[in-house]
Structure formats: C-alpha cells, structure tokens
C-alpha cells in the first residue's frame, strides 16, 4: 500500500499486456468482453489509479483549465467558479485558479500556463488585462485556447460568454420610469471597464429613448466597490437638483450608496430609489432588500466551461460558437419605490 500500482502491475495480475489494460480503461469497446472483465477485476484488486502526469505527457494534454480572476477576494466570482468547476469536472478536467494581480506580481507570464503544459486552455474573468498581456495571448497557437467570461476585451477576436448587460440596464431604467421616476441617475463603474462602458451606454440610450431629463452630474463616477457607493452618495447629497432614482453599476456600489445615505439620515427608498446590478446573495438580505438585475452566474460559468472544452476538442471547427449571451432578469425588492 506504500506505493500506487502501475499499469505494469495490473497487466501482470491480469496476465495481459499494458496496452490491453490501457485499452480497457480508455477504449473498452476495443477489447473482448472476457478480457475486459479480467482486467477490470485486476484494476479493482490492485487499487490502480492512472498516473495523470504520465497520461498528460503521453497525450500532450494537461486535462486542466486555468481560471484567471482579477482578484481572488472578490465574492462576485464564486458562483461563476462553481459553474465552471461543475462542467469541467464532468469532462474529467481539473480547475486551476490564479489571479491577475498575483501572476503579475510574481513575474510569471500568463501565457506560461499554456506554454509549459500546465493547462490546456484558460477562462479569463478579467477584462482589464494589460495590452501587452493581451497581445501575448493573441499568438495564433493560442487563439482557440482562451475564452473570456463575464468581462471581455474590446477589439479582439477572443470568444466570450457574458450577461445581457445592455438589455439588463435598459430594463432597469424602464422599470424606474414605469414606477414614475423621471430624474434618474447612474453610478458608473471604473473608467475603461467594458461592463461599465456597456451599461453606461445602454443607460444613456434608454434615458434618451424615454425622453427623460439628462444632467451630466447625474452620471456619478465610481468603480465596483462599496467605497465607491459611499462616495457617490455624498455626491448625490451635494447636488442641487437630485435624481429621484439611482441605478448603480453593481450591487456592491448600491449597498455602499445606501449605507452612506443611512449614515447621513436619508432614507431609501423614501428619499431616493436605489438599484444595483448582479443580484449577489446578500442583495436579498440587505436593508432595504435590493432591487437588482440578476445575472445567472452559475449558468454563465457552466457555459464558459462547456464552450472552452468544445473549442479545445475541435480546434478547427469554424462553426463553433464565438459568443454566448446569458439572460438577466429584473428582481424588484424594497430599495426602489414608486414616485
């Protein structure tokens, strides 16, 4: 028991060649039933486990996928990871995790994960990679091995999976309009982020489409953090002409916003309706419960994994999906009220 048995050991026990044992394990239909049974028993009694390093070397596949996060400590990603992991493990793949920050700080290069055969492909959840890093990923040999999920990179050909950011944003604005709001503001995300960009554009388009009042100072700059929400709340308070409803680029921002409002003795939704985007777990439990646009993060993760594996397994399939869009839905709760 001190050492795992090898194919050799199993072959000896079963009285066949290692080739046959390997076939029983990987291509059972190539083997006669009698042999299959005998070998299976031998595998059983010897407690044989395939050695992945050997298989990987021989097959030239790592049987694992790297997931790159901007920041491991961000809880937004956990459900996405769950979805990715689920569909990877169904196909016998392992999930490696790294964060952009750490890869960068350690002086590693992202592309090394592919080049040194640690991973067959990667799912990138960070749209904010350096142009330099992006271009290193563009090398032809890698183009089918990389997929962006949730975020993406403009002006590149990488396939991606994302939520309906625009439709969700427009649904948010329309909902606020429908319940009577005519002065609607927006706390935006970090400058240059593709999500913030998509949502901001869709926001402005819908405001125009509905013929609502526009004020430059109603677009309050922020990022995706709680702190940004607090700062935005102070900005709202300082306004002469205040919006009656604020659409925040994320739930975290909305929570920060509401939190600061409460500290300053303003009431949500009485003094201002506030809504977020994402519908993170805590949104429902927040005080007041947060109206939000729900992203199906589990499905997004599952879709990303499945798409990447399909591309890895048939790299030449020109018909492979290049983009998947995951539906979002409006979740109405207590942080917004009719005017």
């Amino acid at each position: 028991m001190s050492k795992t048995s090898t194919l050799q050991d199993v072959a000896r026990v079963a009285g066949v060649s290692t080739a046959t044992v390997s076939r029983v394990l990987s291509h059972p239909d190539m083997v006669s039933e009698a042999t299959r049974i005998r070998v299976s028993n031998a595998v059983e009694v010897s407690g044989y486990r395939v050695n992945r390093a050997a298989r990987n070397l021989r097959t030239q596949r790592a049987h694992s996928v790297l997931v790159l996060l901007p920041d491991l400590a961000n809880p937004f990603f956990s459900a996405i990871l769950e979805g990715i992991s689920l569909n990877l493990s169904r196909k016998g793949y392992s999930m490696l995790i790294a964060s952009t920050k750490q890869v960068h700080d350690s002086g590693e290069r992202l592309i090394d994960y592919l080049d040194d055969a640690r991973a067959d492909g990667m799912i990138i959840l960070d749209g904010g990679l350096d142009a330099e890093v992006i271009s290193s990923l563009k090398v032809a040999a890698h183009s089918t091995r990389i997929l962006f999920a949730c975020e993406w990179v403009n002006e590149t050909e990488f396939p991606s999976v994302r939520s309906e950011n625009r439709r969700g944003t427009k649904a948010a604005v329309r909902y606020l309009h429908d319940i009577g709001h005519r002065k609607i503001g927006h706390v935006t995300g970090p400058e240059g982020n593709v999500l913030m960009q998509a949502r901001k554009e869709a926001f402005v388009q819908e405001i125009i489409a509905l013929g609502l009042e526009q004020q430059p100072e109603w677009l309050i700059p922020g990022d995706f953090s709680l702190a940004a929400g607090c700062v935005a709340a102070k900005a709202w308070i300082a306004l002469e002409n205040r919006p009656t409803a604020m659409f925040c680029v994320s739930d975290q921002v909305a929570m920060g916003f509401i939190s600061e409002m409460s500290r300053r003795n303003f009431k949500v939704p009485e003094d201002v309706s506030v809504m977020g985007f994402d519908d993170i777990d805590l949104a429902e439990q927040f005080i007041p419960p947060l109206t939000s646009i729900r992203q199906d993060r589990l499905l997004l993760g599952q879709t990303a994994a499945t798409m990447l594996l399909e591309r890895l397994e048939s790299p030449d399939d020109a018909g492979a999906e290049h983009m998947a869009i995951i539906p979002v839905s409006l979740i109405v709760r207590g942080s917004t009220a009719a005017l």
Copy 2:
C-alpha cells in the same frame, strides 16, 4: 512558433547535451559560467518553457495542491484562497480547486487527487466530511499530505491551521459584558460543526466565568447562513425574557438577524445589540456597521500553504508544526451599544 521548443532544441542551439540544459535550469551552480551563459541565451532565443507534465512524471511530483471547499459559492473563503494561492505560487506550485459537494456528486473520490498524481497534497476547508472519506484519507501514505484549515476534524491526527475561535468568542462576551450587558444570547452554528462547537463552548464558559444569567432558550440554533439569522430573529422576538445582546456565530447570521429585526420594526442596537464573527468585507458597510471578531483570512491561507509545503518537502521532520493558531481581534462598530 507553432510548437513549443524542447530541451533537445535548446541543447542543439547551445551545442550541449540535454543534461546540461536541464542543469542550467534547475541547478545552475553545477555548471560552469561560460556554459551557463551560452545555455541561458539559447533558452532565451528559443523561447523555451519546461514541459510540466514531463517534469512532473520524472520527478514524481505534481507541483500542485488541491484546495477543497465545502461550497465554491461561499464568499467567506475567497480571502483564504488568496492567501493560499499567494504562498503556493511563490514556491512554484499551482492551486487546484474542488468542492466537497461536486467531488461527491461526480462519484470521484477525494483521495484520487493524491493517488493519481494530480496533486501533491491538499488543504481542506471543510470540517464536515463523511467519516468514510476521512478514514480513506487516514491511510499512512497520505498523513503528511493533508492539512485542515479554518475548520478541522475532531479525533484525528491531521495537522491544521485555525483562528482563535475560543479566545475570540470570550473576547466578544467580555466586551458585551463590559459595556453593560448582563443578558447575552448566542445564535449557534450548524449542529456538529467544529467551529460552532468551539464557539458555543467558549461562549457558555465565559458566561459562567462572568457570572451572567443563563437561559437555555437564549442559545438559538442556526447555521452559518443569512436565513438562519432571520429565523433566529423571529425566535428572539418570540421570547418573553429577551437578551439585550446577541453574539452570532458568523457575520452572515448577524446580518440576517439584523435584517429581520428591521423588517419587524425593531432597532439595532437600540433594542438589542448584535455582533458577528469573521469580519467579512461587508461587515463594515452593513447598516448598522457590524461589530465583529476579525479573522485574518489572508494570513490563515498563507500559513496553511506554507505549513503544507514544509511537510511535503520534509515528510520525516517530526519537529514540523502540527497546528497553527491565527490571532483574531475585536472590531467594535455600530451594531452594539452600551446598555
């Protein structure tokens, strides 16, 4: 550029044997300076990257560690993962992630990660594993390859890293006592969980040590979820003789508790002081900001990674640390008030 170059290629360019190239990469001091420089240049120009599968097969090491979570979607673990990943990558190890639920559902066996050479060791963040799984992990060959972090398993010899659960709990009770509370309740965690057990015991001990009133119904059963906090709040409301302060087993529970109180028009901390445990990111932004016991999750993760690698690299070192305890600290915020 279509194919990564191998040691062979580099050796040809540098005019040396593959053995020498390998030495320059792994044991540079075994090689003359002239050769080292020549080989390094060859490595450079050929863009050589070591093939991990080959190295792993040859060295009989996976150079990766599996981190097992109870549930990928639980944000509590993200900072711990960050710490683990940080110290693993510093030593050239990759981090694999799996969740107990998925491993179980997929019919995989946890031990396979070790047996099939996918990982050299594992860090387990789930103290609630089946007895059957635990015993499969106890096989002598694996005892130095497994480490529990955050949670642990009673009556086993596995090394572990954990926070000061008892000291933190006692500090919480003492603080509530110091600001004037004499009737203190506790929302406990899931039955059988080691953390909930440790905290509950310490809670009762400190209540006794301070000579405070004890009522069985002031120990309100829960788990670690928001929902449990809501249920506990209803239980508190239903009490004839209500505690003036509640110590909750986690921040999530405390937030659920406060959330439900607010819905029922009770005020925190005016009607009851509430505190949590963990000090998750959101604690500070909650309304009211949550008094809590801070766990240093980053340090906990880093310590876990470092301890495991030490044990992996010197399996016979009887003097290796078997347990590490990470300090906690009391963070006072607005959800508790003097009586």
